[in-house]
């Protein structure tokens, strides 16, 4: 039943896409709430109960604002900028495994259906590819605005993204070396026990990765491309209406995807402590399997939401870096540190059989 398999896959992709957009939408609300709570305020609470309709009101406002294109701007590129930012942001979530597999044999689907857009064996590289393309939206938008501040913002975005991409990829290589696969699925399945989570096996790599994730998302403390005090609005100074909305929205989608990737790579993805115990308690038929998978999906989204909160928490705690500090941190600290991390990991991976046999008497 190939057709049913494709249908199930299509539904899963649509649901993932919808959830991505939904979470990104409500991240804008959560951002304001978190900001308010950390500053001892209440935050938006007028639109709907507890202000829950606020994102919809914001979107409505964005849509009805005047869509302005500067006279000397390069018109097509001006439109292409936010579109590219949005496209690259949305594409990334399709390789993230949101859960293990669904058993849909009662629908006549022979294979187990993985809760993942596409399972490519180079998943993590796909993420990096799209992340590295994400900077084009910012650069093109900043250049097309024909404004010095926008251009400066775009320049900053480009140099910052290139610098931190390096450290990010290098920190991942340690994980890839341990797992021996580029597929996110396998990296997640490699962490099926609590003590095997990569955050415990790769603490340095985790810190490097999360710092770089902040930089790649242009989030505070690395939000120099849109640094208000120096550059007005940075690359989106000239933007208005839904084009501006796309830029802001893309940032939140990126945040969601980064959180998903962080939890998949370092926090065991959809695995949770006590999973095997629970699997033993549940019936071993399709229902039990699906139930376990759904719990795993819930746990994974819990982890994602925590990291989205963490992004916001950090934003309202740490002040913005100065530009030279940013570059020094990236090139002089994170990259050497991640190379060192790779060397140490490689040595340990090679020596691991010997270490294990040396401590064999413990077992």
């Amino acid at each position: 039943m190939e057709l049913y398999f494709f249908l199930a896959k299509a539904i899963i992709i649509l649901v993932i896409f919808g959830i991505t957009l939904l979470i990104a939408t409500y991240s804008t609300y959560a951002e304001r709430k978190v900001a308010a709570f950390i500053q001892d305020r209440i935050g938006p609470n007028r639109a709907g109960p507890w202000g829950l309709l606020q994102p919809i009101a914001d979107a409505g406002k964005m849509f009805f604002k005047e869509d302005f294109i500067p006279a000397k701007a390069s018109k097509w590129l001006f439109i292409a900028g936010p579109s590219l930012a949005m496209i690259t942001a949305c594409l990334t979530s399709c390789v993230v495994p949101f859960g293990s597999t669904l058993d849909l044999r009662f629908l006549g689907i022979e294979n187990l259906v993985p809760i993942q857009g596409i399972d490519v064996n180079i998943g993590i590289l796909y993420v990096f590819g799209l992340v590295s393309l994400g900077v084009y939206g910012v650069m093109i938008g900043g250049w097309a605005s024909n404004n010095k501040f926008s251009l400066l913002g775009a320049m900053r975005a480009a140099s910052q993204n290139i610098s931190y991409e390096l450290a990010m990829s290098l920190s991942i290589i340690a994980i890839i070396m341990m797992t021996g696969s580029l597929s996110i699925n396998q990296i997640v399945d490699d962490q099926d026990a609590f003590w095997k989570w990569n955050v415990f096996r790769q603490p340095v790599g985790f810190i490097i990765f999360i710092v770089c994730a902040f930089a790649e998302c242009n989030r505070t403390p690395f939000d120099l491309p849109e640094c208000e005090t120096e550059l007005i609005g940075g690359y989106h100074t000239e933007y208005s209406s839904m084009k501006l909305g796309f830029y802001l929205f893309a940032e939140y989608i990126n945040m969601f995807v980064s959180s998903a990737v962080i939890s998949a790579l370092y926090f065991g993805g959809y695995h949770f402590p006590g999973e095997s115990l629970l699997a033993g308690m549940l019936p071993a038929d399709a229902l039990g399997h699906n139930l376990l998978t759904m719990i795993g999906v819930g746990v994974f989204f819990g982890k994602i939401l925590f990291f989205i909160f963490f992004f916001m928490w950090v934003r309202w705690t740490i002040a913005r870096f100065r530009y030279d500090q940013l570059m020094n941190l990236g090139w002089k600290s994170l990259i050497p540190l991640s190379i060192l991390n790779i060397l140490v990991t490689g040595a340990v991976v090679l020596a691991w059989p010997k270490i294990e046999s040396a401590f064999a008497f413990l077992n």
Partner: protein, 192 residues
């Protein structure tokens, strides 16, 4: 130099130690502070529904006082207009006619008395200058927002104290200006 307070902190430019240069302990400390504030009691006041008690020395919307018998106190001497640094007050004096004694306390009164609320800076100098204790800045009433420039000039129709509030006007310490009231309050409470 001797410090005036114990709050000043001397800046030190010493080299950071390795632990400090890692920034991580400081960042974690900062995160701790913000998360503590996350669960703190919120200070927000939901404005239209709940209102903050205002200070008794607050300088809000002006009022032209009447005396105990309901007569206007203002005698159009013009001292408030002279005192006004923003030149927001204008007035036209007029003479009291026979049979108007119950309306105006003195022989001269202000036929027109206008305050331009866009100019007014609510400094309270008119209140200080008034020899007849006629003009006050109410502590419990704010100047409202305007939607048209014609709304901005407040005439006597909106400035003179309404007759219904006369009885309660006695309770207001007449003859005290804002600064007097402030000194009074400080004296009573013993704190600033």
């Amino acid at each position: 130099m001797e410090a005036l307070t114990n709050r000043s902190k001397r800046v030190s430019n010493k080299k950071l130690s390795l632990g400090e240069r890692l920034y991580l302990p400081a960042i974690v400390g900062g995160l701790g502070i913000t998360i503590r504030h996350f669960f703190k009691k919120k200070v927000t006041i939901q404005y239209p529904e709940e209102q903050r008690p205002m200070s008794s020395v607050y300088r809000g919307l002006h009022v032209l006082k009447r005396d105990e018998q309901g007569r206007e106190r203002c005698t159009a001497c013009g001292l408030c207009a002279v005192a006004c640094p923003a030149e927001a007050i204008t007035m036209t004096a007029s003479e009291r006619k026979k049979g108007e004694e119950h309306l105006y306390r003195e022989e001269k009164y202000a036929a027109v008395y206008e305050i331009n609320m866009l100019r007014c800076i609510f400094c309270g100098l008119c209140e200080e200058a008034c020899p007849k204790q006629a003009i006050y800045l109410q502590s419990d009433k704010l100047a409202p927002s305007f939607f048209s420039r014609t709304d901005v000039i407040y005439g006597k129709d909106r400035l003179v104290q309404s007759m219904e509030t006369i009885t309660s006007a006695k309770s207001v310490k007449s003859g005290l200006t804002t600064s007097d009231r402030y000194v009074d309050k400080v004296w009573k409470n013993g704190k600033y």
